[in-house]
Symmetry: C2
Subunit: 280 residues, 2 copies
């Protein structure tokens, strides 16, 4: 079948940096840990595990060696624990995520209650929350009851969110009673370009595939946006997950991939899809 690949997809700078940092350290050190999955991609994490990277959930599981802080960052409290244990720390936090942490701290120090628009279960957000004293996480309008009225709110957003959702939330906050809002745009421009590129492709195709980790926030956002414009959108981790029945009778497929999806996953998927005779 015919396949259109989104102009912008796959690894972003932050993920590339985290992976190359891990690969380099693994050639230099014996005991290398990652505090949580270094990126939200099972295949890549498995490949790095074969090269020796040990992924752990808690600081308590590490006794000695080198610890890589993953692309999503870590809370200051966790980093302090690592330092206390005398472990060597390699920081692979994405620079844009680092910026959100810094801004959250500054807003708090300037007297704002920090409002983080995002998913409270995502490690990026958990690390940002750890950087501020007075903070609330709001995913959607149903969470706005968490915000105090008539106060000064300092607002940031999960880097992988869409401008549409960011704006929608600002609109909802602006309709409530507030005294002041200071909003810093913390969206990742690369993620936005990928969103635009994905939406453009999904409008032209019979079926759309979004490749990437199921826990990957930016990949989930791509899938969410594509579903809005093309209900034949499927979020898969790799070629093995494709149910061939879904492409049956279809002519053109679109493919995009999250910022943490390695090139080999995309290439294999596209090659196999092109070779399929779907009878479309």
């Amino acid at each position: 079948m015919k396949v259109i690949v989104a102009e912008r997809c796959g690894f972003c700078h932050g993920v590339k940096n985290a992976i190359s940092t891990a690969e380099k350290i693994l050639t230099e050190e014996k005991q290398v840990y990652s505090l949580g999955a270094i990126i939200h991609n099972k295949d890549m994490v498995e490949r790095l595990a074969r090269a020796g990277l040990k992924t752990v959930d808690n600081v308590e599981e590490i006794q000695s060696g080198t610890v890589i802080i993953r692309s999503h960052g870590a809370a200051p409290e966790q980093i302090a624990k690592l330092k206390k244990k005398g472990l060597k720390i390699i920081d692979a936090t994405c620079v844009l995520v680092k910026r959100v942490q810094q801004i959250a701290k500054e807003l708090n120090n300037a007297g704002y209650k920090v409002v983080v628009i995002g998913n409270e279960n995502h490690p990026e957000i958990q690390a940002v929350v750890g950087c501020a004293r007075d903070v609330a996480v709001v995913a959607d309008e149903s969470d706005l009851h968490k915000l105090p009225k008539n106060s000064k709110l300092g607002i940031v957003c999960q880097t992988t969110e869409s401008p549409e959702h960011f704006g929608k939330m600002l609109g909802a906050i602006g309709k409530r009673e507030f005294s002041e809002l200071k909003v810093i745009n913390t969206l990742c421009k690369e993620a936005i370009k990928r969103q635009e590129s994905a939406v453009e492709v999904c409008k032209q195709v019979d079926i759309m595939f979004v490749l990437g980790g199921l826990k990957s926030a930016n990949t989930c956002k791509l899938a969410e946006l594509c579903k809005k414009y093309n209900n034949q959108t499927f979020h898969l981790q790799n070629w093995n997950e494709l149910d061939k029945n879904v492409v049956c009778g279809k002519n053109i497929a679109g493919v995009t991939a999250g910022a943490s999806t390695p090139e080999w996953i995309i290439a294999e998927f596209v090659k196999n899809l092109e070779a399929l005779d779907t009878g479309g």
Copy 2:
């Protein structure tokens, strides 16, 4: 017919202050001017004119005497001209309007492009615009092209706007590319209470009357909101303007009035309306 009057309506503090200031000055001085209508109410302006208040459109029309700065304020440039002419200036600008002017100046000095959500033809907004160097007025979403992208915007709102419109505009601005937004809530809480009170009444009645000047921003906003919930809403200046055919067959009428509508206009309207036999 049965008449329900909104719990909150009529003169606000700012208007009361402007009127009492004018009345006091008129007993003390001979030549008293108002730069533009002192409040947006024809009946009240006529009453003050009979007491000696001269309303002029331009500074150029005043040669000597005392000038009252109306409730909506005046731009610093106009005030400078009055001072240069050696005129005595009495400032009756509403304190909340004065606050918007001050905030616009401060935002500009702090490096923000000032964005005023409001009607560029309204004197309050024209005075605020006169207080900032780098400023844009946006009434609705169709004006947003005026705003530069990827910049720091300092946002204020016309005091008489509704929280709903303020939020809607913030949402639309938030969906665009920006680097930072600093939003100061400049809405008049008294105006908001009147809006809520008017909406509450208009939902219970067969016909709704909003009394006040046709150029009065807060009265127009009340009429706009009431029309949303009750399409039998009429914006009238006083009893003389009522077309009695519209109440024919109706049982219950609601009445509200803008912040610049004098009590005697409301009382006369309600009294006459209650005395009507509408056959409802």
